[in-house]
């Protein structure tokens, strides 16, 4: 196959808002991003990190202060919302309450100047795609939240956009429905082979759906990559913390190895994962709770403070010097640690990452 082309290119886009109190918020700070054709890209971050602002800039609902946005190589900054071949699934669904489901879906096609005979089959097709066949005559108010969600999706998909934008589309659904819709969205993206850009604050959701995830931190993109890669190799302290659970401890590069927090020379195989940092560098390391090997020894460095049983796993909170770390262990272990035990800790190769602040 030929190499991937970009559906969407974001180049050094900035946007700031003035707050009512007279302050200035930098919602987007020199953000650049390539979205590959046919990919499922997720913009992930806590609320207020700028991810929704970027989505609205792409849609044309918000104008960036500076920077360039291109769609398949064409600049679209000056193209008004209604002419961009990009469509949005809104967080609140934004269904037209005065129109039926079918009329809602037909709206965008009518705006393109299609004839009635062209519109009807595409509405049917869109309804079938989201499995709402036969509900075209209903009003949005007569549908459940999940069904409204599907209508919003069908309405945007019917326009066959070059990029489909989804703004926290699942946040209003309950947990069970959300899981179902996640795989549904994945299926739709595969079937239509359209480019999806989804915004969410839910890292599990992002991990479940994304081909590529872009993690936002305070108006900047902290890391872009495949979900697995971002999880295993977080580049910043924020990413390590935000995605999954992580133990983040202060560390210093020594002549031989790394001094991690007050652990001292515990787990010297730490060094193997960290390259290129000159001795004397201070910063942080991160490691996942499940990537810790432990062994009970009477004079181990880790002192167990608490052990809880969570979802089939054991969560062990242990004190190492002045730091507290979390260890996840299988509950099938024959003799699990108890409060008060002393453990000896070690780390598999490559599992401890040096992270930027």
């Amino acid at each position: 196959m030929s190499h991937e082309t970009s559906a969407l290119t974001i180049n050094r886009v900035s946007k700031q808002f003035s707050t009512p109190e007279g302050g200035v918020v930098r919602a987007l700070d020199n953000v650049s991003l390539e979205v590959a054709e046919g990919s499922f890209t997720v913009l992930l971050g806590p609320s207020g990190c700028g991810k929704t602002t970027l989505l609205r800039c792409i849609a044309g609902l918000e104008a960036a202060d500076s920077g360039e946005i291109s769609l398949r190589g064409q600049r679209i900054d000056d193209v008004p919302v209604w002419k961009r071949r990009v469509n949005t699934v809104f967080q609140s669904y934004a269904l037209f309450p005065h129109l039926t489901v079918a009329q809602n879906i037909a709206f965008g096609l009518q705006m393109d100047g299609l004839s009635k005979t062209q519109i009807a089959p595409r509405v049917e097709e869109a309804l079938a795609m989201v499995r709402l066949d036969g509900l075209g005559g209903r009003r949005p108010s007569q549908l459940s939240g999940g069904q409204q969600q599907r209508v919003a999706l069908a309405r945007a998909l019917a326009k066959e956009p070059e990029v489909l934008l989804l703004d926290e589309p699942l946040s209003a659904l309950d947990l069970k429905l959300r899981r179902g819709m996640q795989s549904e969205l994945k299926r739709l993206q595969r079937e239509t082979s359209l480019t999806f850009v989804l915004v969410t604050h839910d890292q599990e959701e992002a991990m479940a759906m994304a081909d590529t995830v872009a993690v936002f931190d305070a108006g900047r993109i902290a890391q872009v990559g495949e979900p697995r890669d971002v999880y295993l190799r977080p580049r910043t302290r924020f990413v390590a913390d935000f995605i999954g659970e992580a133990n983040v401890l202060p560390a210093e590069v020594m002549d031989a190895g790394v001094r991690v927090g007050s652990i001292g020379d515990v787990g010297l195989d730490v060094i193997s994962g960290i390259d290129g940092q000159p001795p004397g560098t201070r910063g942080h390391v991160a490691f996942r709770p499940e990537n810790i090997n432990w062994e009970r020894t009477p004079n181990g460095d880790a002192h167990v403070l608490d052990v809880t049983f969570v979802g089939g796993d054991l969560h062990i909170v242990a004190e190492v010097g002045e730091d507290t770390i979390t260890i996840r262990a299988s509950s099938h272990h024959e003799e699990p640690p108890r409060t008060g035990d002393h453990l000896d800790l070690s780390f598999p190769a490559g599992s401890v990452r040096w992270v930027e602040d």
Binding site: L61, D78, P80
Partner: protein
């Protein structure tokens, strides 16, 4: 380089321009012209004005000119202004006494009944004021239903003269403005959290205590708004004194109307209007101050409960 515009579809502030221009032309301009007219001279034939500066209209408020040309203090118009205040005050007090119970009563009905009851209160308001006022000519007549009823009971030997008295004017005014008092009080009462009353009962309060110490203080913003909504229009009332007072109990509006009608003294009518406007404005400011003070107590302003 032009950037794509934000906030699609919400229209622009310019949409308000025609409406605002219209209101400037047909609300603001008439007010300005009244002020101007009040400082001009009377036209020869009485219709319109003569464009010559004069403060005569304002002097006429306090003094009358004898045929000989001498000026003497004449309290006629002061008396009418005082009467208007008195009528407006009595009207406010009576409407308050009637509106408070019904507003609280409706607010304590089940939610589904409330809108219907409030709608019933507002229906008369939307019918012609002229006809409603006229109705009291029939009702308060010497041969009217009230006198007939009293006569049939043998309570009175000859009909009580009610029509064309200050009493009739007050009845007409109270009737006209009753909904204006009920609605804002209801709006306050509806927001009253009845659990507060339950707490008061629980602490040993009786019905009157709860009413006086818990319910009334929390509907105060509505009461203040209601007083404003009744007092101001009552002050400038025209129809009730005209039709029911029989000319014996004139209020400011009747005198103004007369200057633009039979008396043909536009500048004087304009000066009276300016006076009425100033009084209205002062009352408005006084209420605004009062409502701010009460908002500090209840955390809610009267303006809010008006809307």
């Amino acid at each position: 380089m032009g950037r794509a515009r934000a906030r699609a579809g919400q229209g622009s502030a310019w949409a308000a321009a025609p409406g605002l221009l219209y209101l400037i032309g047909l609300v603001l301009a008439p007010l300005v012209i009244i002020v101007v007219y009040s400082f001009l001279s009377r036209a020869k034939l009485g219709v319109g004005v003569k464009w010559e500066f004069s403060a005569q209209a304002y002097a006429d408020l306090l003094f009358s000119e004898s045929l000989a040309g001498g000026r003497s203090f004449d309290p006629t118009y002061l008396q009418i202004i005082f009467n208007s205040f008195l009528f407006a005050l009595i009207t406010s007090a009576v409407t308050l006494a009637l509106a408070l119970p019904i507003a609280v009563w409706i607010a304590t009905r089940p939610p589904k009944d409330r809108t219907g009851l409030i709608f019933l209160v507002t229906i008369p308001f939307w019918t012609s004021l002229l006809i409603r006022t006229y109705a009291f000519i029939i009702i308060l007549n010497d041969n009217g239903p009230i006198n007939a009823f009293l006569g049939a009971l043998g309570l009175v030997e000859s009909p009580i003269p009610m029509l064309y008295t200050p009493f009739a004017t007050v009845v007409g005014l109270v009737y006209t403005f009753l909904p204006f008092m009920i609605l804002p009080i209801y709006a306050s009462a509806e927001r009253f959290d009845f659990r507060l009353a339950e707490a008061a009962y629980d602490l040993g309060g009786g019905k009157w205590t709860v009413l006086r110490r818990i319910v009334l203080p929390s509907v105060r913003p509505g009461v203040i708004a209601g007083m404003l909504l009744v007092f101001i229009p009552a002050l400038g009332s025209y129809l009730a004194p005209e039709l029911l007072g029989g000319g014996k109990t004139s209020m400011i509006a009747n005198v103004i109307a007369a200057q633009f009608g039979a008396s043909r003294n536009w500048p004087f009518g304009a000066a009276l209007s300016v006076l009425l406007l100033i009084i209205t404005l002062l009352v408005l400011v006084a209420f605004a101050v009062l409502s701010k003070r009460s908002a500090r107590v209840t955390g809610r302003s009267s303006w809010e409960s008006m809307l």
